[in-house]
């Protein structure tokens, strides 16, 4: 019966459009009507009463107690409607396309943009009436674009951006050389050069390694695409064509991407073999803490883990718990990524600098198409993305808000990242499903590249041309993986 009514409704709506607007530009009008009817058929504006919303949040938000505060506040506000939001109690990475159709999925979910957007093709999630949200203009287009998708010939917003996730430089302030203000600050801006550009960081790392104390400067597991691909992007490489939307074209070797890969190869030479596999990713926390490494690159959400390790280290040295924590927070600095030399030559003195691009992700809320209460779910999303909740989220989790008002209010790292996003230096992870095929070939390439720094006789990547052809192989592998077996 319900289905029938809906059909009638849809038919009536389009009929009304056809008869009513014959004189105006019909094509345009019809399109907007299609969009409106999709959103209209989902959201009628009336809150469902006495419903339970199962919300899938990320683990850190639950762990740090933010999620409880969020649902408590929401449940208080919507008490009169009997709407209750609860924890979906599922794996944060669970796949709605698997669970939803059989009734086991959450109503509202918080995931990264690439996860959420893969639900669009099967219409597993509902579009969001984004333009009618009061803070629509507060979120930059670059963030909205990650959630924009074309369905049935119209573009929709499929989720609401909440946080920006990207790589940052983490370093130990107390491990800077004592004379950095005189010898390592060429531009006299009171910021050490080694955290401002890769040439200085390379030089500093090299000097640490050569001092023979068993310590290292910058360390990072290089196979990790999330952190290494930025070097390719900075020199013209990209993942998919048409701003990462067209998987028929793969461009990791495009532009001068090989120059960026060469920078990685050079950086590997001042690390040890641990950069080949995932060793540094795992041991970075404790090795930064015990002073073996000076700096690494990772995402801001693991900040607390670094602090925990460093504080433990200070406690071991006899500091009290509070002292240790304060000291850790003072000495561990999170900064934006250093600038790259335009020439790609890390040994060049006074190079011309270009900003480093980095891969990033935008986490956000989406509404499951299997929910019984779309209006209440929308209310929850609106509530959870309000200025107050976003600020609280930032405060408790240290995550970087996608809202400009919140980012400005927080300042610091949040503002840097937000500006990077605005200026296009954060390459948002492609929202197309074909992305799953990118990881393995690219990881293999980076691992091979890192290994090459430690090969003695049979080096593979002795020239940029060879690197370029290596990248071309990767492009081809990705294309093969995506297209040869598709139907």
């Amino acid at each position: 019966m319900k289905r029938f009514l809906c059909l009638v409704l849809v038919a009536l709506l389009s009929f009304g459009q056809l008869t009513g607007c014959t004189s105006t530009d019909t094509l345009d009008e019809k399109d907007t009507s299609a969009e409106e009817s999709a959103l209209k058929s989902i959201y009628n504006g009336e809150l469902e009463r006495s419903v339970t919303l199962r919300v899938l949040e990320n683990d850190t938000a639950i762990q740090q107690g933010y999620f409880n505060q969020l649902i408590d506040a929401f449940n208080e506000k919507y008490k009169e409607y009997g709407i209750v939001a609860v924890d979906a109690n599922m794996d944060e990475r669970s796949n709605l396309a698997d669970d939803g159709p059989y009734g086991y999925g959450p109503d509202v979910l918080y995931q990264a943009n690439d996860s959420i957007m893969k639900y669009v093709k099967g219409k597993h999630i509902y579009p969001i009436p984004a333009e009618s949200l009061e803070y629509f203009s507060q979120i930059p287009d670059n963030a909205w674009d990650a959630y924009k998708s074309e369905v049935d010939g119209k573009s929709y917003y499929m989720g609401v951006p909440v946080n920006v996730q990207t790589s940052m430089l983490f370093y130990r302030k107390d491990m800077l050389p004592n004379d950095w203000e005189t010898n390592w600050d060429d531009n006299k801006n009171k910021v050490p050069d080694m955290v401002e550009n890769w040439n200085a960081l390379y030089k500093y790392s090299k000097s640490i390694v050569e001092s023979g104390t068993g310590k290292y400067g910058y360390m990072r597991s290089l196979f990790d695409v999330y952190f290494s691909s930025g070097f390719l992007f900075s020199y013209g490489g990209y993942i998919f064509g048409d701003h990462n939307t067209n998987p028929k074209e793969v461009g990791l070797s495009a532009g001068n991407a090989e120059v960026g890969a060469n920078v990685l190869l050079k950086l590997a030479s001042v690390m040890n073999e641990e950069c080949i596999d995932d060793s540094i990713t795992v041991n970075g926390y404790s090795k930064i803490a015990d002073g073996t490494y000076f700096a690494t690159m990772t995402t801001p959400d693991v900040y607390t883990l670094f602090i925990k390790e460093l504080a433990l280290e200070y406690e071991k040295q006899g500091k009290s718990k509070e002292e240790a924590k304060a000291l850790a927070e003072e000495n561990l600095v999170v900064a934006g990524l250093p600038m790259l030399p335009a020439s790609g030559d890390l040994t060049e003195e006074n190079p011309e600098l270009i900003p480093q691009k980095a891969m990033g992700g935008i986490n956000g809320y989406a509404i499951s198409a299997y929910t019984k209460a779309p209006n209440a779910s929308l209310a929850f999303v609106e509530f959870a993305t309000s200025y107050e909740m976003i600020m609280k989220r930032q405060e408790l989790l240290g995550s970087i808000p996608a809202r400009s008002d919140a980012a400005k209010a927080v300042g610091g790292v949040s503002e840097i990242v937000f500006n990077n996003l605005n200026e296009g230096n954060i390459v948002v992870m492609p929202s197309v499903t074909e992305m799953v095929q990118v990881w393995s070939p690219t990881e293999t390439f980076f691992a091979d590249l890192a290994k090459d720094a430690f090969r003695t006789s049979d080096k593979k990547y002795t020239s940029t041309e060879k690197i370029k052809s290596g990248l071309k192989v990767v492009d081809q592998q990705i294309l093969d993986a995506i297209h040869t077996l598709s139907n």
Binding site: K2, R3, C6, L7, V10, S37, A38, S41, I42, A97, P101, K121, G122, K123, H124, Y126, P127, N272, E273, E274, I276, D277, D278, S279, I280, V282, N283, A369, Y370, T433, V436, Q437, W439, S440, P441, E443, T444, A447, D448, K451, R455, V473, Q477, D480, A481, T484, L485, S486, N487
Partner: protein
């Protein structure tokens, strides 16, 4: 041909001799039995008939149609349009076919039963009572009782999924075509697609070679190491066998994937093994990295042995308890050397009763997904089409299909692999003593 004509003859004979009660059973299940006064059995058959008809009316027919159409209406959640779920329909269709086969065999057994009763009555006997039937089922036909439960379970959770996957190999299910999109039958398209893929054959050949080598060598290693350990612990001079045996059990008690993750870490560049190597003043060794082809393979082999040997040891220990000690004693008195005792008595005995284990091991190792997935996953090598040089066919299959959601291609490749491997192991099994001469040791 001979058998066929015999069957026809039997059928003609049956047709000539079927009495009215048998004919009643042919018309309505259980009617003949009721007419013979076998109330319990007759009612049972009638109930089966009723259930069958009810199922057919309530959903059986739609399921059957659904099996061919795989859905006609696509779901659109945005406009509240309910649609068909092709995958569920495919599964229900298979279930329907199975149900029909079951129903027909019930029907046939009903007719056969009525006929048997008729023969008994004609010979002057009485129709069996219900309790007599039950008794017969518990004695002569005991196997029917004991096998029914396992067979149902195995059918639903092992056979049905396999039939489903075989069916999927002939559809376009996968990639972008997953529910709510509608799936269609495509015939042999998937197989043609694989066969015409030029990169497919060389990689398949290379991986199959390695996979066979891996399966054979790891099976032998695990089996003989396990057997050797069991025999060692069975020696009379060994004291405190329970304690000795506890060490392998310790390894056995830790879940396999945890062991694998542990070993992966141990052999990584930052792991303890390399740390010791560096402390001794040597260069770190990439045990599992991109260049470590044979090294990684060897580590895989030994780690797999580490995981599997304990269970083989346990098993052979259990089996050795059944070994005929008198025979060994007799051999010893006759002055047979240890080695001879082993090759002439112990080995044939153990081999006989563990050939199925050997085959099971072979299959398990052949399809050992976890070992290289955990130890060295996520690498695509030059010269391989989307695979690495330690990947087994099942890992490759995973890369090609599941990773990508190309279920149809995955199912088609599985079918190809399955045909090859099952043929090999079937040949081995049928030739083995434990199949041919089941009662050597009785």
């Amino acid at each position: 041909m001979n058998m066929f004509s015999q069957k026809i003859e039997k059928l003609i004979f049956f047709k000539k001799n079927a009495g009215k009660n048998v004919k009643a059973s042919i018309c309505v299940m259980g009617l003949g039995q009721l007419m013979y006064g076998q109330i319990g059995k007759g009612m049972l058959y009638l109930t089966i008939l009723a259930c069958g008809v009810l199922y057919l009316i309530s959903r059986g027919f739609t399921d059957f149609v659904g099996f061919f159409t795989l859905g006609t209406k696509e779901k659109d959640a945005w406009f509240g349009i309910e649609g068909d779920n092709s995958v569920v329909m495919l599964l229900m269709g298979i279930l329907f076919i199975a149900a029909i086969i079951l129903f027909i065999s019930c029907y046939l057994s009903n007719v056969r039963d009525a006929y048997e009763t008729q023969v008994v009555v004609e010979k002057g006997g009485k129709p069996r009572t219900f309790s007599e039937d039950v008794r017969k089922l518990l004695d002569d036909k005991f196997y029917k009782v004991t096998l029914s439960l396992p067979i149902i379970g195995v059918f639903v959770f092992s056979i049905l999924p396999i039939v489903f996957m075989i069916a999927v190999a002939f559809t376009n299910y996968g990639g972008n075509i997953v529910p709510p999109k509608l799936v269609d039958w495509v015939g042999f398209n998937n197989f043609i697609q694989i066969a015409t893929l030029s990169q497919f054959a060389p990689t398949f050949g290379k991986i199959l070679n390695w996979n066979l080598l891996w399966a054979v060598s790891s099976t032998f290693l695990n089996y003989f190491a396990g057997l050797g350990l069991a025999l060692l612990l069975n020696k009379k001079c060994v004291r405190g066998t329970i304690i000795w045996r506890a060490f392998p059990i310790l390894a056995y008690a830790v879940p396999g994937f945890i062991t694998l993750l542990g070993f992966r870490f141990m052999f990584s560049y930052g792991g303890p093994v390399n740390q010791m190597i560096i402390d001794m003043g040597y260069k770190a060794i990439g045990f599992l990295d991109i260049d470590a082809k044979w090294m990684a393979r060897l580590i895989g082999l030994s780690v797999n042995a580490w995981i599997t040997v304990p269970s083989i040891m346990l098993l052979t220990t259990g089996i050795l308890t059944n070994l005929d000690m008198d025979q060994l004693e007799a051999a010893r008195i006759d002055g047979a050397k240890r080695w001879k005792q082993f090759t002439k008595i112990v080995l044939p005995f153990v081999l006989f009763s563990t050939t199925p284990v050997l085959i099971g091991q072979f299959i398990g190792n052949f399809n050992n997904f976890g070992i290289f997935f955990f130890l060295r996953g996520g690498l695509y090598m030059d010269g391989y089409f989307l695979a690495s040089d330690t990947d087994l066919l099942i890992n490759w299959l995973f890369n090609l299909s599941i990773n990508n959601n190309y279920y149809n291609i995955g199912a088609a490749i599985s079918l190809v692999i399955f045909l090859i491997t099952s043929l090999i192991s079937l040949l081995v099994y049928v030739k083995s003593p434990s199949y041919k001469e089941e009662d050597v040791f009785r």
